[in-house]
Amino acid sequence: MHVGQFLAPEPAVDRERAWAVVLPAPFDRSAGGAPGARVAPAEIVAASTQVETYDLELGRDPTDRGLATLPPLELSYADEDEALEPLGRALEVEARAGRFPLVLGGESTVLAGTARGLARLGDVGVVRLEGTLGGDDVWHGLRAAPRTAVRRCAEHVPVRSSGWRLASATAREWATTRDTAGPAARRLAARPQVEPAPADELVRGLPEIVYLSLDLAVLDPAALPMPGNLEPGGLSYADLTRLLDELFRLRRVVGAELTGLTPHPGNVLPAFVAARLGLRVLALAHRQRFPTPSCWE
């Protein structure tokens, strides 16, 4: 499936001339709420063409030093989490080349694949933001599923999962004993604007270099009304972007993934939200890598 170029940069550049690459990973096998993530990368890229490339709040244009979108990965639907190994390999290649990879899921299970690549990069931890804690061992007989993604990730690299509002008793027990459970959504949502966003709690115990795993279901249904995201008590868009801003000040972020969009015909808002968050993550990484915007040079 052809998905076009995220943010439609002009001029388009190939990956060797890009500082960041977008990796579409249309994996859609085991979402608990609703299927459809297989078309999510294409929907996000289509919406991104209507998003300005300049992040007004950060004063950064992540396309100004080259942004490339790679063809979608072909991922097996086999149960084994090795099926996601091509994603781990692609992520590793881009990170080793010094490029910032932004993975566009796909369901949040893709973390089971990206973690495999991250493990080969060295001392890297994962900051996970998701509506579900993700610490179950199996889900309907599957080892790799959204509800087990953090568990699979932890088999390869340290991970801390925050922003959740759903967790099974066994997942909570597992995550709490390992200090993998970060703050739940209620701790992070609707914080007064004068308080610093508590991003330090997202990275507690993690290495200095981290990878961001961001699932859209961390947002409240008011901010992200879509099938599969009905649980109340999630973060607002402002809650989330303040947290991300603080996170990028606290840790060096080597890459990110944006997962969990389940498109619904006639509702373009979730894809727009995803596209804006993709722009924000790239703009934050741009700010971290380059001291000044290119337009000042």
Binding site: L56, E57, P225
Partner: protein, 285 residues
Amino acid sequence: MTPMAGAHRPVTFVAAPYEATASFVAGCGFGPDAIAERLAGLDPNDACHAVEAPADWTWVEAHPRTLCDPAAMRREVSRHVREALAAGRLPLVVGGEHTVTPAALAVWDDAAGVTVVQFDAHADLRADYEGTPWNHACAMRRAFERGHPLVQLGIRSALHEELQDVYGPAADGSSGLLMREATPTARLLTRSGLRSRGVEPALRGLGERVYVTIDLDALDPSCAPGVGTPEPDGLSYLELLDALDAVLDGRTLVGADVVELCPARDDGRTALLAARLLAWLADRG
């Protein structure tokens, strides 16, 4: 507050169902019909704001929905706004896409004396877009070029180049507030700037006569989902009313518009909200 009961200026709603350059989701040409239905049926028991439909109002169709010629649209919208003003009535334009705003503004020959206050997710300052200067992404650029001072509030999406064109080469959105002191003056408060600073910094030195243009995507999609290009993290309805209160405190509303309703994307909330905003503006006219 007392519900308006004819003590204010009579109002002419100028329906301008113009839709020629919608970028993503089509359908804003059906906006005026959806708003008219809500306006006629406004519940008078708005206990929060004591606003109901104005006592003396007329509804005129500036042009048919099928008209997509920008010059003809501008001519017809301008004519109806001019006729309303000549009759001593407050013109409130109901879009349609944002391109109708410069058509309404064209009736004021003293552009420098009429400040345009824009609520929007997008700066709309492009010189041209998709091959035309009469694209909805260029509406405020056309107003600026006429010489209207600009106040842009709640903006959260812009091309860097369009900001530089108006606010100078050093324009940096991350400051939250952009200022242009040369004539015509311009102020831009981003969404986060509005949140952290309040509206007042953008209103200092604002002229006495004001035209308000409200693109409904200024509002958060949770309260106004019926727009063609939704942007997250918008204003709440009450934030918008508070800002409008501040804008019109001690100033005269010479005209206004509400644009970019896309009924195909709406569940009725956005059309009702638009009708309430129009009634609110009529009340302040």
